[in-house]
Symmetry: C2
DNA sequence: GTCTATACGGCGATAGAC
DNA sequence: GTCTATCGCCGTATAGAC
């Protein structure tokens, strides 16, 4: 039997939607209260401030969505297979939440302080195991010697950036939402091919 | 003999800096006036509103920086050489203006309407000639048959995204600004290699 | 816990003197 | 063209009744 949402949850959900859609700065607390169907004062009763509410939402959003990614990156899969899995899982995740990239990037741009302080973001870049693997395979001559940081940045870029310029890509190619999704799905094959290709020892 | 900056120019320049640094929404007109060393009222005398000022700045910024890129894309260089030039010119441009990527992306995220309406952004994606070239070379068997949209998105992603996550990359790798610049400069060789590699007919 | 009411400061914008 | 002064509005936050 579905318990009806608590007030706290209603606020949390409404704010999550709005922050993703419009960005934190263009979302007012009055708007959040309205969408949650509650009173403005309750917003401040449950979360001390808008900034506080935002912190909770951001951590939740990133943590929830990065768990599986980290598991893949730290798994004992072989390098090629790991890349394929990672790209696929990442793209699926972003497809379900296409606004996430813009949201995270707006936060990166926003905070001037050392980023890692925001624990949540840090988890998006937990690559120790992956780095080791690339260096190892390079030493063994299985792959071309490769800077792991460059490689990881390549991978992140190819996966995430298209979502950030989604509006532009759709407009310029007259894509419907469905067509954009198809475009993205093709990348699940395309990106790993490209990455693995770049790792092959030069002939 | 250097004519001293007009008031209009002072406002324009101050606002450009602030919009890039802090984003439009987190910049107040009072702040702009203060940095320009002029009075708040003058902001409204020269530009009717903040939104108007922003429009002028955005167009100027994008147009100014995209001209050479478009020239390269529409030049009669061969495909490989064109890719190398494009990547190199683009990276140089962004290196001089590292905040541009975040800025443009925040705008993409901000406006819900059809993006091409914003003439300026559209120019960042003028690829007709380049598209033709990729299809042509594919037909001739000089390169693997390739979806030009996918290829262009790959290229844009590899070039631009690292600037958007600059703070994250720097923090995670303990990079100084100089080290990040070096990291980026390596990409001028790396990215074209990767792209051209992906175009080579399968063995 | 939930509501009404309101204080307060900052915002974008303008009127009007010079 | 440039300034001072001020308007009305909005966003955050709180006090206090229920």
């Amino acid at each position: 039997m579905a318990k009806s949402k608590s007030t706290e949850q209603k606020i949390f959900d409404a704010a999550t939607e709005l922050f993703l859609e419009k960005g934190v700065d263009r979302t007012s607390v009055r708007e959040i209260a309205a969408r949650a169907g509650i009173n403005l004062a309750l917003m401040n009763y449950y979360f001390r401030s808008k900034e506080n509410l935002f912190g909770a939402i951001f951590s939740n959003l990133v943590q929830k969505n990065s768990e599986e990614l980290i598991r893949v990156l730290n798994s004992d899969l072989g390098l090629e297979e790991k890349i394929r899995r990672y790209v696929s899982v990442y793209i699926d995740m972003l497809s379900e939440n296409p606004l996430l990239v813009s949201f995270v990037m707006s936060i990166l741009h926003r905070s001037r302080e050392r980023i890692t302080e925001m624990e949540a973001v840090s988890s998006l870049y937990a690559t120790e195991e992956f780095t080791r693997q690339i260096i190892d395979e390079g030493k063994r001559g299985n792959i071309r010697k490769t800077d792991p940081t460059q490689f990881f940045v390549d991978m992140m870029s190819l996966i995430a950036f298209p979502f950030a310029i989604r509006a532009l890509v759709m407009d310029k190619n007259n894509f419907t939402g469905q067509e954009f999704d198809n475009f993205i799905m093709e990348r699940k094959k395309r990106i790993p091919e490209m990455l693995i290709n770049s790792l092959r020892p030069k002939p």
